[in-house]
Amino acid sequence: MTFALTMSSSDLLLLLPEILLTSWLCLILIVDFSFPRLPNEQLAYFSIAGLVATLGCLVWFDIAGITGTLFANMFALDRMALFFKMFIVGSTILVILASVDFIHRFKFFRGEYYALIVMSALGMMFMASANDLLSVFVALEFSTIGFYILVAYLREDTASNEAGIKFFILGIFAAALLAYGISLVYGETGKLVFSDMKAAQATPGLAIGFLLIFAALGFKIGAVPFHSWVPDTYHGSPTPVTAFLSIAPKGAAFAILLRMFLVALTTFKPVWVLLIVAVSILSMTYGNIVAIAQKNMKRLLAYSGIAQIGNVLIGLAAGTKMGSDAMLFYLLTYLFANLGAFAIVIAVSEAIGSEEIEDYSGLGRRSPFLAFSMLIFLLSLAGVPPLAGFIGKLYIFVAATKEGLYALITIGLINIIISLYYYLIVVKKMYVSEPHDRSPLKVSGPIKVVVYVCLAGTLAIGIYPQPVTDWVVSAILAFSNVADPTAALPVPPAAIPFGG
């Protein structure tokens, strides 16, 4: 399907999910203000209804193959964008469900909480479609503004305020870097749309410009060395916001990274591969080693998240179609395992008011359901068969092997063992240590739903990944300009460079 550059009613169709969600966002605010006595759960389910409608719309687009570009290529709706939009909307639904119980901790502005989450989701949906540097900037800032507020939502809690300040200052700094990078790239090439930059000459200005843009996106995904906000912000934020922050923005930022590296910068692949390899190795190793020392569950998941991002970057370093498929696959497995783990952190902290790993002692006796689910999620994060994380890791490693990134794979494999250690420490606390207090824990309905959905996803993808692989492969297929598929063919075995 092609569309004219001028707006017409059929062009508006491409924006239907966003339009739908924007109007729903307004509706949420109107309902919240018009019915101040409305119970909070009602508003949560009302927001979810809108998100489900959006998700349905996205699924319809995906099945019907409705794709195209808008506004002179600023906004691209290809199947990869649809994948990431479903990813974002799906995680938003789960996060709102997980917030239903948590919300009573907020003293004020409970209704706005949902509105802000939906607003951030909307910004990230635009990020998934952003096909030029200006729309990247606008969409990225749009989604981040929502987060600045959400992170500091526990107003009486100093940790939450600290998290908000740190996130805000570093976020603004990253935004400045992004804007500066965009101006440099525009100055060098005179182009803004990614696909127009393919013919760009390698100049120092361009290199610095893209490095700055990468730094801003690296901040968004929390890769080392742009990670310093991650632990404190994750720790201090309200837990549902942490869960949201750990998943959705990363998906959206990876959509931009894929477009930037595989479309705009394909010709410079030998150069940027080294950059990605370095960042990936640093993220995996730093995240995993520091996670060992953590005493707090949210901090542990924060550092493990840094390491997981390093794993996803292996797929980007491969820089092939298969590598991109593997990244999408991995992000999906990460979504289920990580959101599930955070849902359990919420459930436990609701029941016993603590997020310390020490207080997970004997969880296996107090709540077999929560402990077993946590076990599954942690093992999936560690990459143990037959869970989704294992297939995700293997997919990424196979893609990287085909590109001969042996040093990177070796470090990735060693990191699996390191991560297994700290995940098993939590498992030990839950199952081996005896509880201080033997009273059983109560789990609320919405959290149970989240946990069941995540369990189903983790197990189903692990046991039979074919439908999901088909989906990610077709999502990347329609996304043009990926490095030629012949790269996957065997290389004639001459001398093998046995290194990164």
Binding site: P385, L424, V427, D470, I496
Partner: protein, 568 residues
């Protein structure tokens, strides 16, 4: 129906485990019943498999293939050859016996059986995988349940119980904990076991990924790779690629075997584990190592195997002697059996290293025989521990008065472990020794010394446990009287003794798996066996023992290129 035998064996325990999730721990008999029932289905199907396996035809039989992930070239490809069949049988026998050995577990019975069933099913999965991916998948899957089984139902050693105080417990969470080799806690054992095995498994995975890449066939299928992968003579890092892959695969899988320098997780793990877990672990999990080396290194890299297998011949001596001596001086029953197991696994490596028909057949039969013998020993060590809450040999003694049945069985188990005539271990040991003599006479002498050592430490332990004066505090200990308690021991004794008197089917089955492998590796056609006359087979009369899978049938048989290149 019969074609699906492998699926019944593999999935019955999984189905049992899933069914157990929905049962309450209060219905104890139902929990036990479901566990035993699913293990029984698996056992009956594998008995059928063992006797229905056509050793004249040989090759991979009962093959099942389901597409699993097209993009990565993975299919759930199951099938057994003469090497896998007896090991599948051994696993399901030990699982069935293990369910009864852990009959008296009171704490979280349901969860125990769930993890035990998953552990056994994953082990069985490795023995029937014809796809490198699934081989690794099940291998790694069998490691993780060990953590929970050891951690939740395991026991600390005597030293640990005496050492720690409530304050000292905190140290167990520190990073230093993992490096503290003096620690004797079950948590330490569990963590060490999982991390050690996973670390080496990851090395093997690297080897598998290299095979996948350089074969360039976009498949993990072993049957395709062994015919079509060209991995030889690719220069890498001053050596060749096939050697690097072989070393990664060999040491990756040898850690679970456990070969000498990589054995340290094993006795600690066995000692901490509950009885049924030790049985399965020493009985079949350790064989995953040998089996995976045979399946991956022998099948896909036969030439390299011929070149590098002497490494195993050297290391196996250390395994045998070191394990034997430590077992002799160990004071803890489970340490004795654990070190004895790692010592005995040295024999299997010797049989494999000699690359001879007789010795490799002996090695595979020894894996089967050792599974029964060590299963019995661990089951009885577990019984003694349950009754006396002690594994400390010097403090025990005279228990034969209290438990005549157990001490009688213990004598049989010791005989089996030593390899006294009357047990199938004897046949296997003799075959290993006879088969390896031509190539490695020195190692054979060491192995015979190892047998003497086995005799010494097992008799020492037997005397220490069952004879001599008895401490009065153990007067409440009682014998295995109930059917459920006696059944597992009787089954394992029956198998061990039965196959001594009727070894031919086992021998033929194993031999049908060993022959094509050795032909491929050494290019020596076997001396004809029993029913097929005598003398050296000529190349014309040697029936190519390939599987009947269409995939392979299309490509040339592995035997065809070799005769033209010269027989010895």
């Amino acid at each position: 129906m019969a074609d699906y035998a492998l699926l019944y064996i593999l999935f019955a325990p999984f189905v049992g485990a899933i069914a157990l999730i929905f049962v309450s721990n209060r219905q104890l008999m139902l929990v036990r019943g479901i566990a035993a029932g699913s293990a029984l289905v698996s056992l009956l199907a594998s008995l059928y498999l063992f006797y229905a396996y056509d050793h004249v035809k040989g090759g991979f039989q009962f093959v099942q293939q389901f597409a699993w992930c097209r993009q990565l070239g993975i299919s759930l490809h199951l099938g057994v050859d003469g090497i896998g069949t007896p090991l599948v049988l051994a696993s399901s026998i030990l699982l069935f016996a293990g369910i009864f050995v852990s009959w008296h577990i009171k704490d979280r019975t349901k969860e125990f059986y769930i993890w035990l069933l998953i552990l056994a099913a994953a082990t069985i999965g490795v023995f029937m995988s014809l796809d490198l991916f699934f081989l690794f998948f099940f291998y790694e899957m069998s490691v993780i349940p060990m953590y929970l089984l050891l951690g939740m139902w395991g026991s600390h050693t005597k030293t640990y119980n005496e050492m720690t105080d409530p304050e000292g417990l905190k140290l167990r969470d520190s990073v230093g904990f993992i490096l503290n080799f003096g620690s004797n806690s079950k948590e330490y054992a569990a963590m060490k076991l999982v991390l050690f095995l996973s670390a080496f498994a990851v090395a093997a995975l690297m080897g598998i990924l290299l095979i996948y890449k350089y074969a360039g066939l976009n498949t993990f299928d072993i049957l395709v790779l062994r015919e079509q992968a060209k991995l030889m003579n690719i220069p890498v890092l001053g050596t060749t690629l096939d050697k690097i892959i072989w070393l990664l695969v060999f040491f990756g899988f040898a850690s679970i075997a456990p070969l000498w320098p990589l054995h340290s997780w094993s006795p600690v793990g066995h000692a901490a584990a509950p009885a049924a877990t030790s049985m399965l672990h020493a009985g079949v999990l350790m064989k995953l190592g040998h089996f995976s080396i045979i399946r991956v290194a022998f099948e896909i890299l036969p030439e390299t195997t011929r070149e590098l297998m002497p490494i195993a011949a050297v290391l196996c001596m250390f395994s045998i002697v070191y394990g034997g001596f430590v077992a002799f001086y160990a004071k803890d029953t489970k340490y004795v059996i654990g070190y004895s197991s790692s010592s005995h696994m040295g024999y299997v490596f010797l049989g494999m290293a000699a690359l001879d028909y007789i010795s490799l057949t002996g090695a595979v039969m020894y894996m089967f025989a050792h599974a029964m013998a060590t299963g019995m020993l661990f089951a009885m060590a577990g019984w003694v521990y349950d009754q006396t809450h002690s594994r400390d040999i010097p403090s025990l003694g005279g228990l034969s008065n209290r438990m005549p049945f157990i001490s009688g069985c213990f004598v049989v188990a010791c005989m089996a472990s030593i390899g006294v005539p009357g047990t199938v271990n004897f046949i296997a040991e003799v075959m290993i020794i006879v088969g390896s003599w031509n190539k490695y006479p020195f190692q054979v002498i060491v192995a015979v010394v190892g047998i003497v050592l086995t005799l010494a430490y097992l008799f020492k332990m037997m005397r220490g446990l069952f004879y001599g004066p008895m401490d009065q505090k153990y007067s409440h200990a009682h014998d295995a009287v109930a059917v459920a308690d006696r059944l597992p021991l009787l089954i394992m004794i029956a198998v061990s003794v039965g196959f001594f008197f009727f070894p031919m089917h086992l021998y033929n089955v194993v031999r049908s798996g060993v022959d094509p492998l050795i032909v491929k590796i050494t290019r020596v056609v076997p001396v004809a066996q029993t029913d097929e006359g005598s003398g050296v087979r000529s190349e014309a009369s040697a029936p190519p023992r390939t599987s009947d899978i269409p995939l392979v049938a299309k490509s040339p048989s592995p035997l065809t290129p070799h005769p033209s290149q010269g027989l010895e």
